[in-house]
Symmetry: D4
Subunit: 208 residues, 8 copies
């Protein structure tokens, strides 16, 4: 009677980055900005490293919400990029849903700003259509802890799995032996404590 | 087997504001007073903006609980206003339930003071009668975080969806193109960070 | 398909106070001592006020755990008092279970020290035997927030309803008109903010 | 040997509002935005109420720092307004210092964004020139608590007096009898808890 | 060159309780209400126990600030009670200063609501007149931590000594042998952890 | 229809200690290091005390993750010790699963570093294979509270029971009379508050 | 005009451990018990390591305050041990002051429970007599952060230097070359993060 | 009688980076690692940008403290680099002091790990020799808030000025017109909120 453990599979997962825009980011106050920026870029590097199809979308770039942060634009030059003309829930945008479905993947890894809207709405819509949804909590930001907590409750009630970029990377990789250097570099670039461990280790073992 | 995503629908939703009274507000200590006042007024403006039927109710206004805050009274002069003579759970008051049913709506958006009583009790009663219930967490206040957390657990166990006024406004609006100015004004009036984005944007694009 | 809302009923509820002992109380660090003491005595006054059958139990009073706090002993001189010779889960003690069953009530209101043991264990056992269980979270204490949070998750998974003494009192009372003075006194004695409201109100209306 | 208590005097005080600009405000993360906006507007209302000469200044309005928030511009249409072309410390701007000196006041009430730069620099410069300086801590914001704490230590070392808008208003007013209604209105507009007290009081005593 | 340690002396100290009024107490949010009430009553009991001359004063009792909390009125029926007609700084009231001077004491123990006004203003004035001032920090409350911290800095700059009711009681008592039972009772009534120690001790040593 | 209460049973439980390595421990920032070290050693002592079969496993000991902390190696010299060559989820390692199954136990008590990976992955895998899984939350650590909270949600969704070492010890022991001294020693060594109670008790009753 | 930097000197320093008693420790709530116990034992080990004369004192051991914690008694079997019959300020006890003076040291390192009484009182008295006083903040505990903060302000006003056991150990040691192993052992035993660094280092360089 | 405001002067300041080593960084727990890394690199970029003479020093690189973080080594290839053989206080190392004096600067900007030792010791020594000392608080880290707070008190008592990297950069630059692009780049690289402002601004004004 136990439901099987739905595990991220790098051959069956796509990444949706929703509304990480220069203006909207000023609304994020449940995670410190240095840390949040690092988490978003870590998730982007994870998507690149595992060659996961990635979809970018924004809401009203021309207005106060501001443009997509340039780092993401630069990192995914060939990704589908849906600048939504007005739909708040990205899943209400046919072009976006088409892009998602075109990936052929059934596991969706979602992050965005702000959590209870730009993340939760498409997450709930995708669940309803039978996708497995994994929300990257630490690359999604919102106004405060009450807002985040409420959004998490609503999403878990519906069956969303809450993860972090580090947990997702580990679950996708499965085994260090698949590529020690690649995963190590991802961690070194985004986890200062891990980088320090690697620095000390390298110094002692390789004299560098 | 997936339960459909129950989404707020502006043609099927009513707002219940429960016991935002001048005396009872001194009990609210899980949200700062400046922020809480702003959230309650934002919810009221949201109800007005989307023309949602709104019901006001209070408990024992003549006693120490104090009168309904005057801003709400002024904003909804024609709303049903049930000054309950004694029922703690508003749903135990027939006049209140009749007013709710008279709206003909099946989605109830509830906020009030204090969360574990004035909000949770009618929320649980309404769920039992088959309504979809959305509690606006940041326009509902209580004694402290333990109390809030306990109330949230009890309500989510029963199927209540936890939201915030911003999330609710976004889910009701669906698409910015329905009215950019109206939603923008709502946000500008109640989200200082968003107002600042709009100010900078207007200055640069319109020279004002 | 909706499960009926299980509501506290003063004719069907009993209170179990588990291991509020002078020594064990020094372990409680997730709630400040002034506040915790107040909450426990508020719960006791609530039990007295609603004439709920109340059962006291302790673990190893003769050893370092120390005696039951004298206030509880004094307040319930005729209550069953089971000084357990060794059972950690009070429900493993036949005399305790017999006392619970002798009340004839199906709703159990439980509080104690420490939350994840003295409260959670009998709560889970009682649920298993078909009782409705309501844990008074703010009259139950433990080592820290991690411990509390873990205990709450385990109990809600099993169907325990989390409440607070104030929420329980309101749900038991149903209607202020049943006795305004009695409930007001209970609140005045244990909620300083409410007492202040009453003081100001009395001064203005009765000149006292 | 005791230094006389330097007390704010409404006939000898001027207010300096430094760099409350729409862009820079997104840097303020040591106070919540709702509360911070309220504090800044309260300080402005205090300056207006006591008819204190007020000076506005900004840094680089045309660039990303953004324009002065429109509320302040509107409230002080006739105040000296020094849009500094580049000086970070406002006191390095001759026009600004001239405006300060033109007020003829020896007590300077300063607030701004961010605390350790736009507030601390002119505060330290003014102290050096013999002014008495009062920094309004809750209408000044910065990146985080470490930054705030460090700025406070540096300023108090130099003799700055740390105050809040409420404390300053009380010290300027001296006696409620000077104008009960005026001070009451200021408090009612910016302290929700006080507004609630006034609402309850008015209802009971005047039936409104 | 070392300044002598100014130590509280029960023969040379008076207690000033400033504006602990039912309405104003709703403004106190830097200490939890249960704990704050306990601290204020502990300070009152300390004053009574050491027979320190005590002076009560209030600001605008007839208005929204509300009456002095009845516990203090009852505990000091014969104390000078100055209901100030309008002076915000109690030291601006001649009757109050006369009452202070009439005690003949040079050490003033001050507590009140709110810290940066009702406590800080008379504290600074008293320092200026050569009194030694001891502010009881935990029986004085205000809006939030920023406000408290700013008030503390201003007062310590001027030479105020910051204490707590417990520290003051210990410094006044000097030696347990002066009266073990009396001091023990004071602690037992206001420090739950200490009461528990006494309960366990009494049980083991006296079988009660 | 109630699911029976799954209770830890010392004859049916095994302990899995996953990746408590000297390097990885520097990543743990959701629990203070002093406290975390104490919790891990308490869990180890609990396993020893109840003679629970215990399995040690590590990930990449030769690299920056560092060696298993020496205390655990020393305490379980005969335990199966699986130094995984690369599998991130210990359950993907056949040798590890074989060791678990060789214990013949159906209840698995799991703790490790970091929570959302080294603990959550094998916990979810074990649940899928029908084991009852109990995660010891306070002997498992991770980057921050967001990470921990997300991991807990994912695990409880799947049916994991969250516990603490103290709760687990109490549930395993069942009755103090089974061995007062043994359990008391375990608590005394790892709960300073409990040790203090025992010290005071021993002094008063045994003069030592 | 600069006052010389008063630096701890191992040939001129004594350690005073004041009232670390089993009962009083239950009052300490500004530092977690695991961490506090570790800090006190670290300070004791530091005193032993640097062979600093150490003086133990307690207040009312026979009563509820409880006995000195046995670890300290065992570690300093030959130290002067003054069980004060009643003086709250240890400096009021002639035997204690005589013991301090008998050490011939002018630098006093003080820690104790609770900070604002048992530490602050003798610290202030010793300053007055011309000693240099260094309070070890993290081996001194009290009720809460307000209490600690107030005590720190009073002590720094008087010239006390606030330190931690780690800072004191480093200042006493001056140069690692004086004894690498000894200092390393002290740190390894009381700083889990440092122990982990040493474990990883030893494994890589010595294969152990 | 006012002491002149000692203001950072880019022609008279040197930067001392003390013990930012890969191992020691694992001890820093009063600032999150992402943020701390960013602050340290921001300070380094500030030193480079203003061409301030910079001195690197480390303690025991060959042991568990680990090597200087490679980013600093790479950024200052020609800076004096004093690998101290054992002195804990860098100022006890003659080579270090000689390097400091060789810069000819009288203002020292110091940051390091850990605050109460590696920063506070040389800061106090430098003050004693008549330097003006500015500690960069947010690029200095330590065990926890108690440790940080104690170190700050000791340093401010001695006359150290506490600053942050952002405050220091602003005070050194004096006027944006000296180089808008350079300072803007420094901020954009290390303050995500500022970078977002610049991104939005550039998009609106330059279409990029």
């Amino acid at each position: 009677m136990t439901k099987p453990y739905v595990r991220l599979d790098k051959d069956n997962a796509a990444v949706l980055l929703v509304d990480h825009q220069a203006g909207l980011l000023s609304l994020v106050r449940d995670i410190d900005p240095d840390k949040f920026k690092n988490n978003v870029l870590a998730l982007a590097d994870m998507a690149t490293y595992f060659k996961l199809p990635t979809i970018l979308t924004t809401s009203f770039e021309q207005g106060p919400n501001g443009p997509l942060v340039p780092e993401l634009k630069a990192q995914f030059p060939d990704a589908p990029y849906i600048a939504r003309p007005g739909n708040i829930n990205a899943w209400d945008n046919e072009e976006f849903v088409a892009a998602v479905k075109a990936t052929g993947k059934r596991q969706l890894i979602i992050a965005g700003v702000v959590t209870e809207v730009c993340v939760a709405f498409p997450a709930l819509s995708a669940i309803e259509e039978g996708f497995d949804v994994f929300v990257i909590t630490d690359a999604s930001g919102t106004f405060n802890e009450i807002t985040r907590h409420a959004a998490w409750e609503r999403m878990t009630q519906a069956g969303v799995q809450l993860m972090t970029w580090f947990g997702a990377a580990c679950e996708l990789h499965r085994d260090w032996r698949n590529d020690i250097e690649g995963l190590g570099t991802l961690f070194s670039n985004h986890i200062p404590d891990y980088r320090n461990l690697m620095t000390s280790y390298a110094t002692l073992t390789q004299g560098k």
